[in-house]
Amino acid sequence: MRHIISILMENEAGALSRVAGLFSARGYNIESLCVAPTHDESLSRLTLVTSGDEQVIEQIVKQLNKLIDVVKVQDMADTAHIERELMLVKLQAFDGVREEVYRLADIFRGQIIDVTESSYTVQLVGPGSKLDAFIDALGSTPVVEIVRSGALGIARGPRGMLVPEV
């Protein structure tokens, strides 16, 4: 099963490589990985998407927690959550298909953020499955490139990920 795992880490050099190294050393797969600073500058937040059976995911969470720089780990599957991913798609858009692409972007609540005579670049935000659906719906429209951010996740409700007290 696909899991989104959120990790708060000490904002130290090499933090990312500790996580990436753990996954390759133990043979876990990473579908996507996103890293950025948070409102607390001492922390970075990693969001990764992985898949595996219950035992594998349990081990992944335990092994992540075992990394000394990891402050908190949350498997988003354990809680009601929102998933979002950003995708930028550059499409060939010649006369004859421009209208269709425009309409399709609109249906998916995408925005056209760059235009040339022969191309559109569409920006789309949503859960990974929605982005996949858009790509499917493009049908035979030639894709020049696709850039995806990888999924982000956040729990529903008023509470954030708790940072343990020292």
Binding site: G14, G21, K62, N65, K66, I68, E165, V166
Partner: protein, 566 residues
């Protein structure tokens, strides 16, 4: 007090109570060596190869329970140390390893003797640090010792660029009294509800089995384990790493389990109805085929590392906590319950175990002509009163040492169980002897393993470390040869070593005593003579049976009840 980075490092070691650093100098650590040279509280042992330094510190740590400390230079100094670091990591041994690094301004420029130490060691340390500013030195070192020695212990590398120890740059020094890390707070106390549940299962067991590992020794819980086991009157088996925590000469002890474990221990594991796993990690050499492992058992597992629990074997009652603390609570609850239920089932379980024990699986064929390696270990036990520190390398001799030297105390058996590092035994023995100069220290090895770190014979002379080397020389890489005999139709690919050195002369050339022993009737006399030479290192080159195999054996992919007996 204003100090340079090198001086701060030395002061931190003093504050941590470190008496010895094992190391080897080089360009990037010259400032540190200069600071070490100008004081007398922290001694330094100069090795002949950095791998030897780490194994020595490791042997010191396993013998004393204190962290071992290593200092090596950048580049090859650090890469040579990696095998030692990985060895300590696999066996959860607390080490703090200081590696030199090139000047900060040169990092990333492929400078002379530059490697990415933090990157190279990352997968084989508990944690690592680079000190980028001399003002962070003291706090980083405090954290390094804290992380190395608490929770599930392990090696920590501290990488120090040369400019950070520049003697011209002095900063105020104060060693932090305490350290607190929000991201690292190991669980010491077990969950009371889980402990209660476990004890309920334990006291009502009909066919119980206690299975313990290195965690009991690392957690200094041998007394608690012994008390717990005796109170219950249950059979106990210990892993390769756990030997000595419970006395081997006690009748409840069934010996080691696993691939070369005893018949009674492995059959007991297979048929038990409640398995009590304490500080052990269900390693593949212990479990055999996982799908056939303990098919009838409810499993209780006590471990300080949550990731050890349900990693290989799904358990019924997991308890995360320090073994000592959890066992103390368990003993109390067992007492409250009035001990184990004295049932007929328990009685007949013991009858069954005695029947298995009656197979005498460790008996071997005697020969008047050729020395049997098992006999050498048995005689070593007799001559040392079963009370020596025994280190080993890796292979057949390691298994024979584990099987035939009955360890009655923790910390006495020192071997590379997890990584299986040949070359470990000699430097580890020197580390143990350094820590306990008045105790007997023997290194049981083979002619293959000893050649992987034999340069440390020179260190042994320099520091007057009169250990006794018991080399079981069968002319083969014995364990490899055994597998080739069993599983490759006797095609002995590269397992025979031709042109071996004359080990007697080798020992003599390093200033030690060498002996070659060729007849079974000379074994005991040679050992007695060697151990009588209190102030000399003696290298005993026993010419043993080249075709001898380690029995019993659970072949790879088999269950614990599917053993090959002699």
């Amino acid at each position: 007090m204003e100090l340079s980075g090198g001086q701060i490092l030395v002061e931190c070691l003093k504050a941590e109570g470190v008496d010895t650093v094992f190391g080897y100098p080089g360009g990037a650590v010259l400032h540190i060596y200069d600071a070490l040279f100008q004081q007398e509280d922290v001694q330094h042992v100069l090795v002949r190869h950095e791998q030897g330094a780490v194994h020595m510190a490791d042997g010191y740590a396993r013998a004393t329970g204190k962290p071992g400390v290593v200092l090596v230079t950048s580049g090859p100094g650090a890469t040579n140390a990696v095998t030692g670091i990985a060895t300590a990591h696999m066996d959860s041994i607390p080490l703090v390893v200081f590696t030199g690094q090139v000047h900060s301004a040169l990092i990333g420029n492929d400078a002379f003797q530059e490697v990415d130490n933090v990157g190279i060691t990352r997968p084989c340390v508990k944690h690592n640090f680079m000190v980028k500013d001399v003002r962070d030195m003291a706090e980083t070192i405090k954290k390094a010792f804290y992380v190395a020695t608490t929770g599930r212990p392990g090696p920590v590398v501290v990488d120090i660029p040369k400019d950070v120890t520049d003697p011209k740059v002095k900063v105020p020094f104060e060693y932090p009294e305490k350290v607190a890390m929000r991201s690292y707070q190991p669980t010491e106390k077990g969950h009371s509800g889980q402990i209660r549940k476990a004890v309920d299962l334990i006291v009502n067991a009909e066919r119980p089995m206690i299975y313990t590992g290195g965690g009991v020794i690392l957690g200094r819980a041998a007394d608690e384990l012994t008390h717990f086991t005796r109170k219950l009157g249950y059979p106990i088996t210990q892993t390769l790493m756990g030997l000595g925590a419970y006395p081997a000469n006690d009748k409840q002890h069934l010996g080691m389990l696993g691939m070369h474990g005893t018949y009674e221990a492995n059959m007991g594991m297979h048929h038990c109805d409640v398995l009590i796993a304490i500080g052990a990690r269900f390693d593949d050499r212990v479990t055999g085929d996982l799908s056939k492992f303990c098919p009838y058992a409810k499993i209780v597992h006590v471990d300080i590392d949550p990731s050890s629990i349900s990693k290989n074997v799904i358990v019924d009652v997991p308890i995360v906590g320090a073994v000592k603390s959890v066992l103390t609570e368990m003993i109390e609850l067992v007492n409250q319950a009035g001990g184990a239920k004295k049932t007929k089932e328990l009685e007949s379980w013991w009858d069954q175990i005695e029947q298995w024990r009656g197979m005498k699986c460790l008996e071997y064929k005697w020969s008047d002509e050729i020395i049997k390696p098992q006999y050498v270990v048995q005689k070593l036990w007799e001559v040392t009163g079963g009370d020596a520190f025994v280190t080993s390398d890796v292979g057949q001799h390691q298994m024979w040492a584990a099987q035939y030297y009955g360890f009655n105390k923790p910390h006495r058996w020192i071997n590379s169980g997890g990584l299986g590092t040949m070359g470990f035994g000699l430097p580890a023995a020197l580390g143990a002897k350094w820590a306990f100069p008045d105790e007997e220290v023997a290194c049981v090895t083979g002619e293959g393993s000893i050649q992987m770190c034999s340069q440390e014979l020179s260190t042994a002379l320099q520091y007057q470390l009169p250990i006794k080397i018991v080399s079981l020389n069968n002319g083969y890489l014995g364990m490899v040869r055994q597998w080739q005999e069993f599983f490759y139709s006797g095609r002995y690919a590269m397992s025979y070593m031709e042109s071996l050195p004359d080990f007697v002369k080798l020992a003599e050339s390093y200033g030690h005593v060498g002996m070659r022993i060729e007849k079974p009737s000379d074994v005991e006399g040679a050992l007695r003579e060697a151990f009588a030479m209190k102030d000399r290192l003696v290298f005993m080159d026993f010419q043993t049976d080249p075709e001898e195999n380690v029995y019993p054996m659970v072949p790879a992919g088999a269950g614990l009840n599917e053993m090959i007996l002699l």
